[in-house]
Point group: C2
């Protein structure tokens, strides 16, 4: 990590991101969702899924290659099931679909205790943690999974990448208990392909169990790695498979050709999303020890887990919460010099002057 961070006023950042999406043909609602998302990612220290990555993905997989459809309307399919909805995303911008779907899950959970929305013909929602943090802060237990844009992961015991890095994201409304929502959010590969590429650039050896070579054999040479392995052997494989199963039930296409031009032209190549919220009141057992409230019981249990010997443990979501606190304390979103300079791609596209590090206040951390 860089020691020097440049403080970009949130309004300046959000405006630039929104205008970049508008310039690509996205609607005002989509541009707003996109800038809201990028703001949240930057604020929570999620540097792999900030504005730079979001627009880069739109270049690679999105509106620039005709796969994501700016201004698309979600079709909410008729359903006989009151607590669940099935949507056709029509390749609408993932961030806009995800926020709306999670909002709908919260409404359904208010009424039914649990609500879910599945989305076919979905694009990419970048960082599932952002949506479950948002729902958790509003008081819900939230969950989402999706299939990745491409398939880079080899099933346990196999040689060919036919699974996405398929993430899972869970959020819990623990802010009253520990000061922030617990967020469990990761891909089902041991590491991301970006990490392998970084190791190749830096001449470092990969960890065991990260990747396989072209013959499907495990390798620690980043230059020979062509596909990733699931984390935790058969357990991570099972978790990656869960996203594929949801996708297959929802309407996703063949995993091995997702995001590619391979295979029969009529096969589908998009992702699917699945969202779910639970109202904590629906879990309330009315029998907490010492007459604790539900929230106090959660607090007592978490304190117990982090008791003697475990003081150094982090709770999942703690780093994101610390980053958000740091961001808020400095009154702007924090970016490195390299990141500030990379915003030139975005300003250039808009015909605006590039951001310069010296235009921003900076801090050393």
């Amino acid at each position: 990590m860089s020691d020097t961070w440049f403080i970009v006023p949130a309004a300046q950042h959000d405006s630039l991101v929104a205008r970049a999406y508008l310039a690509r043909g996205y609607s005002g609602e989509e541009a707003h969702a996109a800038s809201r998302f990028c703001h949240s990612a930057a604020r929570h220290g999620i540097r792999t899924h900030n504005a730079l990555k979001a627009l880069h993905l739109d270049d690679l997989f999105g509106s620039k290659v005709g796969r994501w459809t700016p201004g698309a309307e979600i079709a909410k399919l008729p359903s006989r099931f009151a607590a669940s909805e099935s949507w056709d995303g029509h390749n609408k911008l993932g961030q806009a679909v995800a926020y709306e779907a999670m909002d709908r899950c919260m409404q359904l959970a208010d009424q039914y205790g649990v609500g879910m929305v599945s989305v076919d013909n979905a694009t990419h929602y970048l960082w599932g943690g952002g949506y479950v943090i948002d729902a958790a802060l509003k008081g819900y237990i939230a969950y989402t999974n999706c299939t990745s844009a491409t398939s880079e992961v080899v099933p346990f015991g196999g040689k060919t990448a036919t699974l996405g890095t398929n993430p899972h994201s869970w959020g819990f409304p623990t802010q009253d208990a520990v000061g922030f929502p617990i967020v469990i959010d990761w891909a089902t590969s041991t590491v991301a392909m970006g990490r392998v590429q970084q190791f190749a650039r830096e001449g470092k050896e990969l960890g065991p169990g990260w990747a396989v070579d072209a013959a499907g054999q495990p390798t620690t040479d980043p230059n020979k790695a062509v596909a990733l392995l699931p984390f935790g052997a058969h357990k991570g494989y099972g978790l990656g498979l869960i996203d594929e199963l949801y996708a297959a039930f929802i309407g996703g296409g063949l995993p091995s050709i997702r995001g590619t031009t391979k295979g029969h032209p009529q096969e589908k190549r998009g992702s699917t999303f699945f969202f779910q919220c639970i109202h904590p009141g629906a879990l309330h057992g009315h029998d907490y020890a010492f007459g604790r409230t539900q929230s106090d019981n959660v607090k007592a249990c978490l304190q117990d887990i982090l008791g003697p010997g475990n003081e150094q443990c982090l709770l999942p979501g703690e780093l994101e919460a610390k980053a958000a606190k740091l961001t808020d304390a400095h009154g702007g979103l924090l970016f490195t010099k390299a990141e500030i300079e990379s915003f030139a791609h975005i300003t250039h596209e808009l015909g605006e002057p590039a951001w310069k590090p010296e235009d921003f206040n900076s801090i050393n951390l």
Copy 2:
């Protein structure tokens, strides 16, 4: 594994198990659920959770020590949430509670698309896979988690065991697609404590990342191991924490004293269960490539995952399905010689003659 298997007629097995539970004071309904469960475990080759283990757990944690309450009635709490129910299990036998809860989830899913039941003051349901297989075979996507009877797992980065081995079980109705339900079902520790004890008996070294010693340091010496580590580092830690969070919201007590007599006498020490079913129709996106049916789309996706290079991969649940097929082909439940002899504990308690291997037909596999 033993080469010789003894074929116990299902009626003989089920009757013995039911009578053993009746003799311990359990109701006819509970005894039926218990024998149904043990039958299913044995039929699916789950030798760690068959009748011998079930009754052993009742000795250690259950009716023999006054913690599980034979004949207890579930209290179904009033709730304003239509698709979810919150139950007080009143320490009723876990297998009976779990079957009933999963049945209720299926009914709720029929109406709402998704249904859930949470259970406070729960006991032990042995093998979550059994309940999700059952629901999957009836056509539902099923999920359950629970907190373990005791805490044996150290949080990632810590030294003290304050988490259960907290399993997760997912079942998918893929029998039309691949011939059996996919079942993803495991504990969140790298291995079970029983495995560590087995390695100690056999003088074998543990794998790295399995266990820690009394000082909380990783060890591969099974004689020094006092606690387990989560699988997959922070990812498995997060998964184990999910069960604790559900438990804390539902009403579970402090994880570190669960199943013990430590701590304040008024603290709760029982487990919690969480169950959920989704009706696949609620995920139906009506846009499968080539006009495939939902089931055909699932089949096509799974075939794609197991395509060239991945022919040797197993699908989770495949081994259980093979065991069930083998069992069915031999017209009885298959047990090893040692297992047949161990049934003497059960027959002895009932004042019946012990089973002898020579009383049963056998096969060599």
